[in-house]
Amino acid sequence: MRRLWALTLPLALALASLPQLTGAEEQIVTGLSQNRVEITANYDGSNILIYGAVKRTAPPPEGPRLEVIVTVEGPAQPLVLRRKEKVAGIWINQSAVTISSAPSFYAVATTGPFTEILSHTDDLRYRISLPQVIRAIGITAEAADSPDFVEALKRIRMNEDRYHIAIGRVQLLQETLFRADVELPANLSDGNYKVRLFILRGGQVIDRQDRYIGVRKAGMERDLFNLAHEQPLLYGVISLLLAAFAGWAASAGFRYMRR
């Protein structure tokens, strides 16, 4: 009897995981309209087209529909969030929480609402929705109403065009071809922007692919930025000389004009 169990158990397990195996036969193939963004003096935001297809060896399986989620994530940094409260008639910064890491940019586009297409466990595992991306671990100890702070971070950054949630904005054709457009704002920081593409069925991620967009300052913008950080004293002196020269030139110019 025990022997029989030993034989059938692996078989049963294999059968149980069969739907996932067939799922894994759907693979994701992706591309980006550009994988470099150069920030020059006249940079004013850019539009990235993220596209892809689902590669299959068999016809698409029956059951839950295929769903797609695309995320773009900028370099992360720790933050302090402060809240003003009324003390003695004036509004001053009173309570504060520290967020260990929040991306400077985050855009997520999907084929449908999170509650319908993404299970909570996979959201936790892959950190897809905004509350998972903002790492606010341990903030409950700092303020009684810490969720308000995370909510505020989300709200402020969405107003600044730094965070986007585009529900239903991934176009999916015939459960095979898909595309999403992501606007990179004008107030962009340098770094590697991680693009993640997920295909899902029944709330489970069945395949994913990562890509990167390199965002770099270029030309004069880069030279000035590097000078400011590598030779700060020289940079400061140049700034002052520039100011002194401009002040003198304007004064001399006007005197000349009045003659």
């Binding site: 920030i39 020059t40 003096a41 006249n42 940079y43 004013d44 935001g45 940094q77 720790p78 933050l79 302090v80 969030l81 402060r82 809240r83 003003k84 009324k86 008639g89 004036i90 509004w91 001053i92 910064n93 504060a96 520290t98 702070f149 505020a152 971070l153 709200r155 402020i156 950054r157 004008a186 107030n187 962009l188 920081s189 300052k217 004069m220 913008e221 880069r222 000035l224 930025f225 400011a228 950080h229 700060p232 004293l233 940079y235 400061g236 140049i238 700034s239 002052l240 520039l242 100011a243 002194a244 401009a246 002040g247 003198w248 030139a249 304007a250 004064s251 001399a252 110019g253 006007f254």
Partner: protein, 308 residues
């Protein structure tokens, strides 16, 4: 025409920046104030990060002050000796101010501290100047053109202190203690609030030292060039927040504005000039006070931490 600012890391319309620089430069040339108390809030308003706004604002003030001072110099409107005494006081003050700034930043209350200082000093000085200049305008009206013999300056308690020094351009023989103290106060505020301090310096020179209005503007600008220059350099070295592209656009607008302002100021009477400056100072004070008293639209603020 949008232009990307490399240090501020935002993209802003270049003509908007030229215009802002022009307005602030105009006021600077007209009143002898650096305009730092205007440029910093204006830059914040159009989306420049706070650190960059303070540091780059200081850099812009350097340029408009030089431009304005050169005009005053042609007219013998700069008392270099007085300027140097104020400057020595200013350096001592800004050294203390840097420590206070660091202490308030550590407490997380630097914004409040800056705003309260603004309200207190702008309100006090604006109010005093307004009342005084209004009174003297009314007096002039009543008496018509027949004015009594005017002294070139007013005798104050500042004349009774020791360590007297002759300030020939101002026509003063006063103790150097009051100018040193005033310079120190301005330096302190400059380091804490990121302003040149002209709005304090100008009235303090007129009312406390009795410096004639004719040389006040030029001498104030002389002192401001050095305090804001020092501030710019400190910020460039310590926090890399001086944005040269932003500064250049503000400067081009600013120096032109300063020239026009200086021309306009020669057409106005001293009392009119003072009452206009008083109104400007009071309105900025009023705006900041409202910000403190009314519930802000956004209670939360984000401060990025520097990675260790």
């Amino acid at each position: 025409m949008q232009i990307y600012l490399p240090i501020a890391e935002v993209s802003i319309n270049a003509f908007l920046l030229l215009g802002l620089g022009g307005i602030v430069g105009f006021l600077s040339g007209m009143f002898g104030v650096g305009g730092g108390f205007l440029i910093t809030p204006l830059l914040l308003f159009i989306g420049v990060p706070a650190g960059v706004a303070v540091a780059t604002g200081a850099n812009q003030v350097v340029a408009s002050s030089i431009s304005g001072m050169l005009v005053q110099m042609k007219r013998r409107g700069v008392d270099f000796r007085m300027g140097m005494v104020l400057l020595i006081g200013g350096l001592i003050g800004s050294f203390i101010g840097v420590q206070v700034f660091a202490w308030m930043t550590a407490l997380g209350q630097i914004d409040l501290f800056v705003q309260l200082s603004y309200v207190l000093f702008l309100g006090l000085i604006g109010g005093l100047m307004f009342v005084e200049s209004l009174r003297s305008i009314l007096r002039n009206r009543k008496q018509g053109v027949a004015m009594p013999v005017r002294r070139s300056h007013v005798h104050t308690w500042a004349h009774r202190l020791p360590f007297k020094m002759k300030f020939r351009v101002s026509g003063l023989y006063v103790s150097i203690i009051p100018p040193l103290l005033i310079g120190a106060l301005v330096g302190l505020l400059s380091a804490c609030m990121g302003v040149g301090g002209g709005f304090i310096l100008v009235p303090a020179m007129i009312y406390l030292l009795g410096v004639p209005t004719r040389v006040v503007v030029g001498t104030s600008l002389f002192q401001i060039i050095f305090t804001t220059g020092f501030t710019t350099l400190m910020h460039a070295v310590n926090s890399q927040t001086v944005d040269m592209v932003l500064a250049l656009l503000l400067i081009v607008g600013g120096v032109i504005g300063a020239q026009i302002g200086a021309l306009v100021s020669t057409r106005l009477q001293a009392e009119q000039l003072r009452i206009l400056l008083a109104l400007l100072v009071i309105s900025v004070c009023f705006k900041i006070a409202l910000d403190l008293l009314l519930q802000p639209a956004e209670l939360f603020s984000i401060t990025p931490l520097v990675l260790p």
